[in-house]
């Protein structure tokens, strides 16, 4: 637009006069001199707009083209499998999330990519599906589309880490990318993973060291022993550490070494604890009718021998400053909490010669290890046990704690429980319609309830519908998502028992119909899973 004309237009003819000489001739020569000042400006504008619409050249691409062709390695998946995605998208939230994860994983496992028509749909539903599904989704987009989305920043999730022969990820990746790479390598080839870590260990920060040790703790193997011993001896033994993370690393390594039956430490701790072991008469009926003695561990009230701040801090990385005096009346009780965390359950069972259940019962119900907080009797090591179970994911420990703790305290363990333990927990505590319990479980795409438990849920729910005749939408969605297909005949049979028409309609609408849709998807997916 001509500057003179633009200025007049913006400021108005009240403040500026049009000077045709300052306009391009193509416009000025066409102006009607009979018109008043305002109309002349408008006429000049009409010409200028028209010329602008037919005139200027288009810009050219000067910079190098950021998109280059890539040969696709993956074939496009079957249209039938794409059609299943459409079916999945009609499901309720929980079922949809579960099936989406399964579907994405399936296409990824088949090393296929999706056709462009499905890309938009997939992109719409990825939010909230979790990192793993998003990474698989990135692969099934196909290399070209994935590249374009990354280049143009249309992919809002974390980029895929190249874990196949991926030296790059290890050398140049961010901490989480390196961890993903190393975790996968450790699972596939522990020896190679350890050798790789051994080389770079001195350069790692203490936070990163802590993270790698945790990966080892989750996937502990005999092949890790030498490396752990080396670390322990070179960096931790006999050293008094100041950093909290370094102390935690030390405790973690000791725990791992004991789990691996590493003699020197295991025997040393066993010997130290032996000094605190006493024998006393068994309580209850056993005590009345036999002379059987039971081992107990008496934690000294005063610092003595092994139980001194100096020894525990330097040898085992124990934090000696009692940060919870209301719970731990004297310091050695506090120190023991940290020991409990690092010692494996089987070691503790062996020390006191008790079963798993008895061992936990001992530490939770012995009066010496209980205290009053706000008028309530509290087991001072309950939190420690729960924490330990959550961190180690020790199945035996989780199962035992679930039995021993009351349902509310055990609810913290729900995400770590195995399917069977979870079902036992729900059944034992009659939590069939307790939504929070099921929500805590999270959404595991691979998990299904057992047939027996699915039947139990049917029996309970059908009674509920018969009584109240209304649907619990969110619980129903959970029910549908986890229900075992083999229990469907039982559900059909029980459905017939609903005599109330409204109840039967609700049951059909909220349970049976959506379940059938799920089962249809399951049946359609099956041929592709083989």
């Amino acid at each position: 637009m001509n500057t003179h004309l633009k200025e007049i237009l913006l400021l108005g003819t009240g403040r500026r006069q049009l000077d045709p000489v300052q306009l391009p001739t193509v416009i000025s020569s066409r102006l009607d001199q009979q018109l008043n000042a305002e109309k002349q400006v408008l006429q000049a504008l009409s010409f200028a707009v028209y010329l602008a619409e037919i005139g200027p050249e288009l810009p050219s691409l000067i910079a190098p083209d950021p998109i280059q062709p890539v040969a696709e390695e993956r074939p496009t998946t079957s249209p039938l499998l794409v059609a299943i995605l459409n079916d999945i998208l009609t499901l309720e939230h929980i079922s949809k999330q579960r099936w989406l994860k399964k579907w994405i994983q399936l296409v990824d496992d088949r090393a296929e990519k999706i056709p462009p028509q499905a890309v938009g749909k997939l992109m719409e539903v990825l939010n909230g599906l979790g990192k793993k599904a998003q990474q698989s989704a990135h692969r099934i987009l196909g290399q070209m589309t994935a590249n374009i989305y990354q280049t143009y920043q249309l992919w809002p999730y974390t980029f895929e880490v190249d874990t196949e022969g991926g030296d790059e990820a290890w050398k140049y990746g961010k901490t989480d990318q390196r961890l993903v790479y190393w975790t996968q390598l450790h699972q596939a080839d522990a020896k190679a993973a350890i050798e790789l870590l051994r080389v770079d260990w001195p350069k790692e920060s203490i936070r990163e060291k802590w993270s790698f040790l945790n990966v080892i703790a989750q996937d502990l193997q005999r092949l890790d022993l030498d490396f752990l011993v080396q670390l322990y001896e070179e960096e931790f033994v006999g050293k008094r550490l100041n950093s909290k993370t370094a102390k935690a690393c030390k405790r973690l390594i000791i725990g791992l070494l004991i789990r691996l039956q590493y003699g020197p430490i295991r025997n040393e701790i066993a010997a130290q604890l032996e000094a605190c072991i006493k024998e006393e008469s068994a309580g209850g009926l056993l005590g009345l009718f036999s002379s059987k003695k039971r081992k107990v561990l008496v934690i000294p009230k005063q610092e003595t021998g092994f139980w001194t701040a100096e020894v525990l801090a330097s040898q085992y990385g124990i934090d000696t400053k009692n940060t919870a005096p209301d719970r731990f009346e004297y310091d050695p009780l506090f120190w023991w909490a940290q020991f409990l965390e690092l010692l494996p359950l089987e070691f503790l069972m062996e020390t006191l010669e008790r079963t798993a259940e008895e061992t936990i019962d001992y530490w939770l119900n012995t009066p010496a290890y209980q205290t009053q907080i706000n008028g309530e009797q509290v087991a001072i090591y309950q939190q420690t046990w729960v924490q330990k179970a959550m961190e180690t994911k020790d199945e035996k420990l989780i199962a035992t704690l679930t039995k021993v703790l009351d349902w509310q305290a055990a609810s913290l363990l729900i995400p770590s429980m195995s399917g069977l333990v979870f079902e036992q927990y729900v059944s034992a505590n009659q939590l069939f319609e307790h939504m929070e319990t099921f929500q805590r479980r999270g959404y595991d795409a691979k998990e299904n309830w057992s047939v027996g438990f699915s039947k139990k849920m049917v029996d309970y729910w059908i009674r509920l519908f018969a009584k109240k005749t209304y649907a619990y939408q969110s619980q129903a969605n959970h029910f549908i998502a986890y229900f075992h297909p083999d229990a469907f005949p039982h559900l059909r049979m029980k459905s017939a028992s609903l005599s109330n028409r409204a109840a039967a309609e609700h049951w059909q609408r909220y349970i049976v119909d959506p379940l059938e849709r799920n089962l249809t998807i399951s049946a359609k997916m099956q041929p592709f899973e083989q």
């Binding site: 637009m1 009240g14 009409s46 707009v49 619409e53 037919i54 288009l58 810009p59 691409l61 849709r517």
Partner: protein, 447 residues
């Protein structure tokens, strides 16, 4: 002809209707499913004792269902089409049952039947009618002229004060002027004034440019109208349309003198716009042999929703009638023969962006108010440069994309194109491209 899921989705009156259709799209839900060369039908259990009978005319796309739904197509028809999209030719071919045959025959009969002649009027009645019409026209012309004069004064006043004052003006100012133009039966002009009041005044560079463009075109229109008596009849008609005279699709369909083109028409794309309770649907079509573009406009509201005649991405062998204009663009479907499974003839494409704009310039020279025209551009693809999206043609020229191009369509187009260039269909809107779809393997894929 099998519609894709995307096409069926676009056909659904609402997203919820499509979702409801998807839930019924498993073949097991249907107690009966069959097809013939021209139809698809099925029976599905509903809330009543008898199953619903659903049928689709595959040749001249139409639906019928015995369910009580007021949505059109209903969820059952959508589901039936989805089942067809999934199973394709696996649906058994059978003899059409009576209820399907009756419906299709009636449709064919109706289409073939010449339209009923208007009532025969006596010469006196005809004269009286003509006089009445002329009087109404005259009265409207007087009103419109008065409105145009008032608008001219309003524009002069605006230029006297300067456009920098525009953001300070109360919205009421624009609304009042627009309302006066509506009262003067010049609704076409009212739209320009409303657009002026709705500019985003937070972005000075943008609104100033847009305001100048609106005012330049509007003033030219006002001046053209003042020359109305000197113009040719076809120009007079075109101006009337621009000022808001409505055109009757019904009359056009029966007007034997109107321009009509028989061709294989590609339904390039569709756009819906909602304004003040009114729904406007624009459908762009392209004739493969005639290389003529066409724009179909449909209007609806809450009580009378639009029932779309076109499914994007399909190719119809049909006859389109064009409203008379200096550049005939707006058209209606006069007769549809059948849907074609693929392109029988590949249309012509403009070579590159330069040729595209030159082609538009030629048309603007005929009608300077032309906008939203569809074009076919050869071998181009998407690219982003400095946060802006462009179409990159084969001469490495960049055509900017309209700023409100939906991100889901953008991602779909990127996935379709990859690093390849393809022949594309687009609409030019104020020198910016609105991509509609692309051509691949004798097929047209709409976005």
């Amino acid at each position: 002809m099998i519609l894709s899921e995307n096409q069926i989705e676009k056909l659904a009156p609402k997203p919820t209707a499509f979702k409801a259709g998807q839930k019924l799209s498993s073949a097991s839900k249907w107690s009966k499913l069959a097809r013939s060369g021209r139809a698809l039908w099925g029976e599905i259990k509903g809330s009543g004792s008898k199953p619903y009978l659903t049928e689709v005319d595959l040749e001249d796309l139409a639906f019928k269902c015995s369910c009580p739904s007021r949505q059109f197509p209903c969820k059952h028809a959508i589901a039936l089409l989805l089942v067809r999209a999934q199973l394709g030719d696996q649906i058994a071919v059978e003899l059409e049952p009576e209820w399907v045959q009756d419906w299709l025959d009636k449709r064919r009969e109706k289409a073939a039947k010449p339209k009923k002649e208007e009532k025969d009027y006596t010469p006196e009645e005809q004269e009286r009618q003509a006089k009445g019409k002329a009087k109404r026209q005259e009265s409207r012309m007087v009103k419109v002229n008065a409105g145009v004069e008032e608008l001219e004064r309003w524009l002069e006043d605006l230029i006297r004060v300067g456009l920098l004052d525009l953001p300070n003006r109360p919205t009421k100012d624009f609304e009042t002027m627009a309302a006066r133009l509506v009262d003067a039966q010049a609704t076409g002009l009212a739209g320009w004034i409303r657009s002026l009041g709705q500019l985003s005044f937070g972005e000075p560079d943008k609104w100033q440019k847009e305001a100048m463009s609106i005012l330049g075109k509007l003033f030219a229109l006002v001046q053209a109208w003042k020359n109305y008596p000197q113009l040719s009849p076809v120009w007079q008609l075109s101006l009337k349309n621009l000022l808001g005279w409505s055109q009757s699709p019904k009359e056009l369909k029966t007007d034997t003198e109107a321009l009509a083109i028989e061709d294989d028409w590609i339904v390039l794309g569709q756009e819906k716009e909602h304004y003040d309770g009114l729904e406007i649907e624009r459908t762009w079509l392209w004739g493969c042999s005639s290389n003529q573009s066409a724009l179909n406009l449909s209007f609806g509201n809450t009580f009378s929703p639009i029932v779309s005649q076109f499914v994007t991405g399909t190719i119809l062998q049909a006859n389109l009638a064009f409203f008379p204009a200096v550049l005939p663009q707006r058209a209606v479907l006069r007769m549809q023969n059948r849907l074609l499974p693929s392109l029988q003839q590949y249309p012509e494409f403009v070579e590159d962006g330069r040729a595209l704009l030159s082609s538009e310039a030629d048309q603007l020279a005929i009608n300077p108010w032309l906008n939203n025209q569809a074009y076919l551009l050869a071998q181009s693809r998407l690219i982003r440069e400095e946060e802006e999206w462009y179409l990159l043609d084969q001469s490495k020229k960049l055509i900017p994309l309209v700023s409100n191009f939906p991100v889901d369509k953008l991602m779909y187009l990127l996935a379709l194109l990859g690093a390849e260039r393809r022949d594309m269909a687009l609409v030019l809107r104020n020198r910016k491209a609105l991509p509609l779809g692309l051509f691949h393997d004798q097929q047209y894929i709409s976005l």
